[in-house]
Amino acid sequence: MSATTGYYIPGDSWLHARHPLTKLLGVGFILLAAFLLPPIFLAPIATGLLVLALTAGLLAATVRALRIPAVLLASIVAINAVLYPGASDPWLALGPFTLTGEGLTFGLVSAGRLLTVFLAAILFLFTTLADDLMEALVARGVSHRIAFVVLSAVQLVPRMQVRAGAILEAQQARGLSVRGSPARRLRALVPLIGPVVLGSLVDVRERTFALEARGFGAGSHRTAYRLVIDPPIDRWLRWGLGAASTAVVVGALLGVGR
């Protein structure tokens, strides 16, 4: 992973070839569908996303990426399974905790929704260059400053990961142990988080200077060197995704399927 390309995995699949806004709209549609459609749809949507990943040659990378939200998703399931308030169907008493069917169901649905959105987002990041996204947004009339904020947000995590790796090395070389009891591990976070935050602030200052030097704050009008291809099929796809998103919202408002 480089700081330039972030999570982007070079490729020439049909998914790579889609216009960034088409894919962004796709992520938006999945987000709406995951949270507004009945839970029964979650499994087909997640399966569909995995099939998309397979056809784009990204299944292995997508499955590997699942380790990022794994702890969060498992915690959501576990905590809701035993601590769901007001649940009336206890399955098993475990000391102060009680495993309930309602809680487990709620936990699984919540985790499933997040997992589905995560799959859509990671496929978007794997197949979209951040710079293409910025240019596509600017070409659609979005302020280049806002577009650059979006770009920076996409690049933030990879940049911080690189920095955090260097900081971990530097502090371990001073005798910092990141093993041991939870309390010890928690204490070890201070020398790691401090330089990450302070270093990021220094980075932001230097990058601000660099952008100013390159005329980023010079005026509102801007031209583009790199043209982002927008094939005709993408226009149809965007219409389709727009219509589908509208249908999901209207359906949810009308209570269809509830």
Partner: protein, 593 residues
């Protein structure tokens, strides 16, 4: 429309930051005209960067501060409210960190150069012509399709300059543009400035590097925000100007002064060698000793260094008895994931009490190799042994008790709210008892001359001093082996002398020091052995007098290095080995006569 005249003129210019008692810059007068290169030098914190930000139109527009006087950039007073667009056609500014000047979003150098043109709303059809012109002008056409962040530091800095030049400024301001570059990168940037000045640009360049400063028409010396003097490089960097505020002179200037060579020839090695030869009669008659006495380490003389200068540091002495150790790399081979080999079959033995410099251009594998000493990296093949024991199973935090590692970027390390707490972090993490920790902290802060900054937040110090805090925090671990990654990068001449004295004292106490450096004079002065790396392999190993001599110039050139200036002058005088600095060269001449 006529283009504005490429002229930078500051008259009585001053800057004061909010909350600061003293102005950062006061009463600065400088006039840089078309085709001129004016260098700015001085101690870290003397006001060089502030001057660059003012001349580049960043103060007060981007960096808020009170200003006074007139700062005319291409006829526009930048201290008055102005349209940023008008400034872009006149002046461009280049900073020290190559990577942070790039947009970090472009996949090719060509796109990177287009970024500034996009912001200037240059029509797309006109961009390629301008980009091709700049690539050709600066001789970096071969980089056009490369990924900017994958380039070497020197290449990135050339791209950063090209990206500014593509926007069409006629005045160029640079703030320590070579501080993070290897010698090859510095030469590239110097050649680039020559080309631009020949094309009519007016250039103002803040620098520490003597090689860069030697190529300028004039040098301005700053001290505590004020101009000490402005003159030709040989004069400004010599005794009468830089020396008057206790700044050490570059080696060539010192030799030129000894040889009686005039200011215009102070960087002309042949003229210096000829001058030294003809001065041999003076040397024979014993006047050398009096000359040397007068010149000895002006930086140590507090009354010449100014009221706010750093206190004179005490020499390093061991706080506790500790046996030295032997470090052995045996057939180390290492590849980063999915990449070609970074280190190939590297074997090196460093005995207790030895100081070893590892040199080579960026990407030659130096850092990768030394990261094996404390377990930050584990070899794909081969072994690292400390006192004969394989450290493969030892955890990094355990090895920290034996090996102290000073990283190049202090931002990766510093997090405490005071310098004292920061320096105490290492020994506390290692479980050293409180009394000994206190003694180690005292010793380490005194050694680096920061005893008076104990309560200061490290981030309130400038980068040069933060690097010294980082060094002190590792010295306080009291390791047997000290590893330093580019300890002199971006440091002024005083700090380089300080680090040299620490390393010499460290090894005299039986400890071991291994340092990566691009500074050939530092390598010659501070180390017992010099190891050369090229493409991941060790290609030479020997005493600095041999490795850094002109006889090894072809080998050094193959990895982007050149012998230090004293070695080049020594060779011109017919000496075969490289002397360890100016004093050593003069001693050799004295003993020969």
């Amino acid at each position: 429309m006529t283009r504005p005249e490429p002229r930078l003129a500051l008259t009585g210019a001053g800057v004061r930051y909010a909350g600061r008692r003293r102005p950062a810059l006061e009463g600065v007068d400088v006039d840089v005209r078309s085709g001129e290169r004016v260098g700015v030098t001085g101690r870290s914190g003397a006001g060089k960067s502030t001057l660059a930000l003012l001349a580049g139109g960043f103060i007060p527009r981007v960096v808020h501060a009170r200003t006074c006087g007139v700062t005319s950039v291409g006829g526009l007073d930048v201290t008055k409210p102005l349209d940023p667009g008008a400034l872009l056609g006149r002046v461009g500014i280049v900073f020290a960190s190559p990577a942070n000047q790039l947009s970090a979003s472009k996949r090719t150098v060509r796109e990177e150069l287009a970024f500034g043109l996009e912001n200037l709303a240059v029509p797309r059809q006109a961009m390629d012509t301008r980009i091709d012109g700049v690539l050709q002008q600066l001789g970096i056409g071969h980089l056009a399709d490369r990924e900017p962040l994958a380039l070497s530091g020197g290449e990135q800095q050339r791209v950063a300059i090209a990206a500014i030049i593509a926007m069409g400024p006629t005045i160029l301001v640079l703030d320590e543009p070579t501080s993070q570059l290897d010698p090859a990168g510095r030469r590239d940037v110097a050649a680039l400035l020559d080309t631009l000045a020949a094309g009519g640009a007016a250039i103002l360049c803040a620098e520490h590097d003597a090689g860069m400063l030697g190529g300028m028409e004039r040098i301005m010396v700053l001290e505590q925000g004020r101009v000490v003097g402005t003159d030709r490089p040989g004069v400004a960097l010599g005794r009468t100007v830089a020396g008057s505020v206790g700044l050490p002179s570059p080696s060539l200037v010192r030799l030129a002064e000894f040889a009686g060579v005039g200011g215009d020839s102070a960087f002309d090695e042949a003229a210096i060698a000829a001058g030294l030869s003809s001065a041999s009669s003076a040397i024979r008659h014993g006047s050398l000793a009096s000359r040397r006495q007068a010149r000895t380490d002006d930086w140590r003389t507090p009354d010449r260094a100014g009221a706010d200068s750093r206190p004179v540091p005490a020499g390093w002495t061991p706080v506790r008895d500790r046996e030295g150790v032997e470090v052995e790399f045996d057939g180390i081979h290492y590849s980063y994931e999915g990449d070609i080999a970074a280190v190939r079959d590297a074997s090196l033995r460093v005995v207790a009490g030895e100081a070893v410099a590892i040199i080579g251009q960026n990407g030659s594998g130096k850092t990768t190799l030394v990261k094996h000493v404390n377990g930050l990296l584990r070899p794909d093949a081969g072994e690292v042994r400390i006192d004969g024991r394989n450290i493969a199973a030892d955890r990094i935090e355990r090895l920290a008790a034996t090996v102290g590692f000073v990283f190049q970027d202090p931002a990766d390390q510093l997090f405490e709210r005071s310098v004292e707490r920061e320096v105490a972090f290492g020994p506390r993490s290692l479980g050293i008892d409180a009394d000994l920790t206190a003694a180690l902290v005292d010793q380490s802060l005194e050694v680096v001359g920061l005893g008076h900054e104990r309560a200061t937040n490290p981030y309130d110090l400038d980068l040069s001093l933060r690097r010294l805090v980082s060094l002190a925090s590792v010295l306080a671990q009291d390791p047997a082996v000290l590893v330093l990654d580019e300890p002199t990068a971006g440091q002024d001449a005083e700090a380089v002398l300080l680090i040299t004295s620490i390393i010499r004292a460290w090894c005299a106490g039986g400890r071991t020091a291994i340092a990566i450096t691009h500074d050939m004079e530092f390598a010659a002065l501070a180390f017992d052995r010099v190891v050369v790396m090229r493409d991941g392999s060790l290609v030479a190993d020997g005493p600095p007098g041999q490795i850094l001599s002109m006889a090894q110039a072809p080998l050094l050139a193959s990895t982007g290095l050149t012998p230090p200036p004293t070695a080049r002058v020594a060779a011109a005088l017919g000496l075969e080995t490289a002397p360890a600095g100016v004093d050593a060269l003069l001693s050799i001449l004295q003993s020969d006569t």
